[in-house]
């Protein structure tokens, strides 16, 4: 178990670094895909299969498709593969480093529990969604609908008036 955890953790860290380091936008996006998939592996290790599946299907699948689609459309408009340059390299890294240090220094004391979610995990999640989280579930539905409608109309080209 521990080995799988370290493996997926290392993989996702490396993939996240890839997002930072790749100069080609397409590669960066694919690197994020790798990161998200290895995170899904981690979630399975942590017995959060429900989230892991959602992560793979919706997050990795859905979002990345949208982003890749966006990259294709925009690079078609630009007519060449997209390269990305950087700005504020020094002050940005300094700030990120400082934030990282602040987070590590204030590290929460995670008490170790050997939790067991395995029994009826899927059932439990479904029941929670339909009872305690019912309102949130419905709101999420409305949010998705609004985003769909809004995004469709936003992406339509509009004459300069």
């Amino acid at each position: 178990m521990s080995i799988a955890l370290y493996f997926f953790a290392g993989l996702s860290a490396a993939a996240a670094l890839g997002v930072l380091l790749f100069r080609q936008v397409l590669y960066a996006a694919l690197s994020l895909l790798a990161c998200l998939l290895s995170l899904a592996g981690l979630y399975i290790v942590m017995q959060a299969e429900y989230v892991a599946v959602t992560q793979i299907i919706i997050y990795a699948g859905g979002i990345l498709v949208i982003i890749l689609f966006g990259i294709m459309i925009t690079s078609r408009l630009a007519g060449k593969p997209m390269q990305v340059s950087t700005q504020y390299p020094v002050i940005g890294s300094l700030l990120a480093l400082l934030i990282f240090c602040a987070l590590v220094l204030s590290q929460p004391a995670v008490t170790s529990h050997t939790s067991d979610f395995s029994t009826n995990h899927w059932q439990r999640a479904g029941r929670w969604l339909m009872t305690e989280y019912a309102l949130a579930f419905e709101s999420a539905g409305v949010l998705l609908l609004i985003c769909l409608i809004g995004a469709a109309v936003t992406a339509i080209y509009q004459r300069e008036s």
Binding site: Y88, I91, G92, L95, L98, I99, A102, S106
Partner: protein
């Protein structure tokens, strides 16, 4: 009781009516005048008493609307002078000006000033204080020329500094429950709130060092100057100060007295060296307000209040006289109608009004000014002999500039022309001044013959010296330059000395000569210093400095405003991080 409220509401109603009046061409002046007259007549119907209504009462927050008409004379003065100024404006204002807004502002001003004078709760007073300030801002900038607009801005700014301090002071007093004048107890408030309120008074009543707005405000129409910047509005500060008298402690009193004393002398000195009639009168107002503040600070508040009233009469009158001169100058096409050297006298009546009113200013007998000035002098001598030196010094100083101006205005030949309507208000005011003296001399006669004799001697001496001084023509602002200063030392000073001597003071000529030398030297030096102060400290530091601060901080703010969204984010996250660090350290 209802009548009391009516007096307040009539001008307000008239003002609102004029603003919302559907017709553009309408005798707005006539409307304003008749309403003011009605309110004036009503003052004979009212019985003095208080008027109370609850404005807001919620939870622990309570705002009672408290008004009290305790002194009908003050009310009549405010309404009366407003009425006269409105009458005067009817003839003074060109027909092309916007009569609607002008007269509605005048009516609104009457309302605000009445509210200020009668309110007995400091928070309510503050509301009216702000309204008075706003109206004056509009009226100073009425001509919408560059100079008057900037003058209006200057007035607004300097007054705002005072207002803020005033409000903070009020809020601090509120925590001790001392806002209503009914429950004031001596010494129960701390020093700081009173000093803060006094800063408000300093700004509004044009005390040193916040006085430059008053001279700048002379860019407004002359009747406006007569109403606001001499007689009533600037008195608002003194009125508030009077209300705080029971609370004053020694520290505050000392600060008040010295501010008043310095202003008294400063205003007088500055008045000597100007040729602009409105400027001279403005400096004179500053000086007289200083006298009132000084009197209140020393404890002579009854006589200070008396002087507030008599000053309102004669200063309004003097401004209205000056307006006639200026009006005449404008009609006959002078390039610089405000310059006293170019004045020609259109009418003999004007001369006599001027004589009576300026006599009142210096405190000659037979005028109301005599009563108040001698009362102040007498009270000051009893309360604090050392501080009364300020007053003693100011007496010849006042006489000096009054004499100088009067020389130009009175000694000149009289051109005969029919009595102009513009003259009536000034004549009426001089008449009031004299009647007041006659009516009150038996009841409110000042005591202490010695001080009266000495002061009158000083006045007469000063007046004659002023006449002599008038013959010396220094080039305008020559006292700024070394050259003019040298000329003054080399040639004018002996002349001044001989003039002084010939005035007939029976003291050793040699001593007088030296005294005058020293006096003139100090005077010039002091005037030079104050003008430097006005330019360097007030104009440069306050005005220029604030502009620099605005520009500088604007640039700092602009750094993250480059339009780059990631720059925004960098700035935001960086400041968040700074906050985190502070947060964790605390």
């Amino acid at each position: 009781m209802e009548v009391n409220g009516l007096i307040l509401l009539l001008p307000l109603a008239a003002s609102i009516l004029m603003v919302t009046f559907p017709v553009n061409r309408f005798p707005f002046g006539g409307l304003a005048l008749s309403v003011t007259l009605a309110a004036f007549l009503l003052t004979w119907v009212v019985d003095p008493g208080s008027l109370q209504a609850n404005w807001l009462q919620s939870g622990n927050f309570n705002l009672p609307l408290l008004f009290s008409i305790h002194d009908l004379r003050l009310i009549r003065l405010i309404i009366g002078i407003s009425g006269l100024v409105q009458f005067y404006s009817l003839f003074y204002l060109s027909s092309s000006a916007n009569h609607r807004s002008y007269f509605s502002l005048l009516c609104f001003f009457t309302f605000a000033m009445l509210g200020l004078a009668t309110s007995t709760h400091l928070l309510v007073t503050f509301v009216f204080w702000e309204l008075v300030g706003y109206t004056s801002y509009r009226l100073i900038g009425f001509d919408t020329t560059t100079s008057s607009t900037s003058a209006a801005l200057k007035a607004l700014l300097i007054n705002k500094v005072g207002d803020v301090c005033f409000l903070i002071g009020i809020l601090m007093l509120a925590s001790t429950g001392l806002l209503s004048t009914s429950n004031l107890a001596p010494g129960s408030a701390g020093t700081l709130p009173l000093l803060l309120i006094f800063v408000g008074v300093v700004a509004k009543s044009a005390q040193a060092p916040l006085f430059p707005w008053l001279t700048a405000a002379m860019a407004g129409p002359t009747p406006v100057s007569a109403l606001l910047h001499s007689a009533t509005m600037v008195a608002a500060g003194v009125l508030v100060l009077l209300r705080l008298v029971p609370l004053l402690n020694d520290t505050v009193s000392t600060v008040i007295s010295f501010t008043g004393g310095v202003t008294l002398l400063l205003g007088g000195l500055l008045a000597i060296f100007s040729y602009d009639i409105k400027r001279i009168l403005a400096y004179s107002t500053i000086s007289q307000l200083g006298l009132m503040v000084l009197a209140i600070g020393t404890g002579a508040h009854a006589s200070g209040y008396l002087h507030l009233q008599t000053h309102a009469i004669f200063k309004a009158g003097l401004f209205l006289c000056a307006g006639v001169f200026i009006h005449h100058g404008v009609i006959s096409g002078h390039a610089n109608p405000n310059d006293i050297r170019h004045f020609s006298n259109p009418n003999g009546w004007l001369k006599w009004s001027w004589v009576i009113l300026s006599g009142s200013l210096v405190g000659l007998p037979l005028t109301a000014g005599f009563l108040s000035k001698e009362a102040i002098l007498h009270d000051m001598m009893t309360f604090s002999a050392s501080l009364s030196l300020f007053v003693w010094a100011s007496i010849p100083l006042t006489a000096l500039y009054v004499g100088r101006v009067s020389y130009f205005l009175v000694v000149k030949k009289t051109e005969s022309s029919p009595l102009h309507a513009l003259l009536l208000p000034a004549l009426l005011l001089s008449l009031v001044s004299v009647t007041w003296f006659v009516a009150a001399i038996t009841t409110e006669a000042p005591t202490g013959w010695v001080s009266i004799i000495i002061s009158q001697t000083l006045v007469i001496a000063g007046l004659f010296a002023g006449f002599r001084l008038a013959r010396i023509s220094f080039a305008e602002k020559s006292w700024h330059t070394n050259l003019g200063l040298d000329g003054l030392y080399d040639k004018k000073m002996p002349q001044l000395a001989t003039a002084w001597g010939r005035a007939g003071i029976a003291v050793d000529r040699q001593i007088i000569d030296r005294l005058v030398h020293a006096w003139a030297y100090i005077t010039v030096l002091f005037a030079h210093l104050t003008s430097w102060f006005d330019r360097a400290i007030v104009d440069l530091t306050l005005v220029g400095g604030s502009a620099w601060v605005v520009r500088f901080t604007g640039q700092i703010v602009r750094v993250p405003m480059s339009g780059k969204v990631q720059g925004y984010l960098l700035w935001a996250l960086f400041s968040l991080f700074l906050f985190l660090v502070l947060w964790l350290l605390l």
